[in-house]
Each structure stands twice: as structure tokens, then as C-alpha cells.
Symmetry: C2
Subunit: 112 residues, 2 copies
DNA sequence: TGGCATAGGTCGTCCCGCGATATATATCGA
DNA sequence: TCGATATATATCGCGGGACGACCTATGCCA
């Protein structure tokens, strides 16, 4: 089960694209929502992550649109990207589960 | 609910010290166990994290022992550290929950 | 005698996060 | 009318943190 490891912004971008293709700014908004407002992706972070993910084949450019005179560049997730996101999700869930056990107020009382 | 953000090695070190004081090498082993073998803390990572956590008041030097002629330098978690670990744990759990929803195979079938 | 586990620590590099900055359009309030 | 805010793209440079390489040292086992 030992796996790759992924930085959090990368993971969040992957999640933001999981359900449907989005453009840069849309990703920023979705990441903010997914992280409950915690993570505000800056431009530098976003495009760095995007470039790396494309290079890794986990996302791909989808199409472009012009809305209100502004260009929108859409990206979609690949199967490889979906798989990686799923693996990372389970890794985090398992970690949180173990963390809760370790952080439990009373470690052992009676039967443990 | 918007919170601080913490790097993963930092979080894992905090977790490793959550239940009892440990020395450096012991932390490395516990982190490995907690992460299901995924994270092998190197010396550079460990001592950097340790220094930062001490400076932040989230862990503190506990005591020293000499076992088999080798020095063991123990650290313990502080209340501030425990609180931070708990917050981060819930953040991760919430994120994993949302991630599962987003990654669900069939997003909407029937009612949703 | 050499290698591995245990135990501590420093140093340097490189990657990544992230703010600053630039460009451009549309809306809204002062 | 001017500035701020939101939408939308992208580059650049700094700094911090992860991590491997390396060093010292003891005890054990083959």
C-alpha cells in the first residue's frame, strides 16, 4: 500500500477537476470550497501545479471558451489522475482514523 | 473554522508524540507506523521539524536517558501541540469526506 | 572484520508554495 | 469619473521546508 505522496495544493486541484472540467479561476474557487475556505490558491501555486499535473499525465487541457471577452482555458482530469486522487483520499482517511485513535483523550480505560 | 495549515511531516511528528514522549529515532519509527510505511522521515526532515515545533511551543524537550551508551533525547507534546493536531485531524477528515463525495463513480443517479 | 540497527546531528540542494506583478474586461459604488 | 472588486490569464523571484548525503558513535551478530 505504500504510495507516491502528493502535496496538498496538487491534491486539491485534482479534486477540483474530479467531477467536471474547469478553467483556472474556477479551480481556485472550487479548491476554496473543497477546503472549507482554508486554501486560497494563488496564481503562482495554481499554474505551477497545473503544469506539473499535465506533465505527469494526471490532467489534460480540455478546450477553450471566450466569455465576456475573457478567455477560459479548461482542464480535465485523466484516469491516472482520478486513480491518484482516490489513492490519496484513502491514505488521508486512514491517517485521520489512526490520528483520532492516537489523540483519544483517555488512551486506555479498563479494556482498551 | 478556517485554520493555520501544517505540512505533513510536521503533523506526523505531532501525532507520534501524541500518546507519549519519544526520542528522535523513536519518532521516526512511529511516523513510519502511523503512515502505514509511507513516510520515512530522514534526519534532515526530522530535526528541522523538531526545531520548528519547539520554537512554536507545540512540543518541548522532556528528558534525556542513556541506554546502552547511546543518548536518547526525549520530546513531549504540549497542549498547544495537541490542540493543533486535533484541528488538523478534523480538517483532514472533513477533506477526505468531501473528496469521497466528489470522487463518487456516478455523481447523480435518480434523485440528486 | 564488516555490516546493520540504534542514536545523535549538520549541511546543501532543490522543489514547491506563494506573493508581487502585469495585462485585460466588466461591474458597482462613491 | 475614479477606484475597488471580481473575473481571467500568466510570469517571476524569494524563501522555507523536505530530504538525501554525510559524519560520529555504540552494541550486536555473523
Amino acid at each position: 500500500m505504500a504510495a507516491s505522496r502528493m502535496t496538498e495544493p496538487t491534491y486539491l486541484v485534482l479534486l477540483a477537476l474530479a467531477d467536471e472540467p474547469r478553467h483556472g479561476y474556477g479551480i481556485v474557487q472550487e479548491v476554496r470550497a473543497l477546503s472549507d475556505g482554508d486554501v486560497r490558491l494563488g496564481a503562482g501555486t495554481l499554474y505551477g501545479v497545473l503544469d506539473r499535473l499535465v506533465a505527469a499525465g494526471q490532467i489534460a487541457p480540455d478546450h477553450e471558451e471566450v466569455v465576456d471577452g475573457r478567455l477560459r482555458r479548461y482542464y480535465r482530469i485523466t484516469e491516472s489522475g482520478s486513480a491518484a486522487a482516490a489513492v490519496e483520499t484513502e491514505r488521508l482517511a486512514a491517517l485521520a482514523r489512526r490520528a483520532r485513535r492516537v489523540l483519544a483523550p483517555r488512551p486506555a480505560l479498563g479494556n482498551a
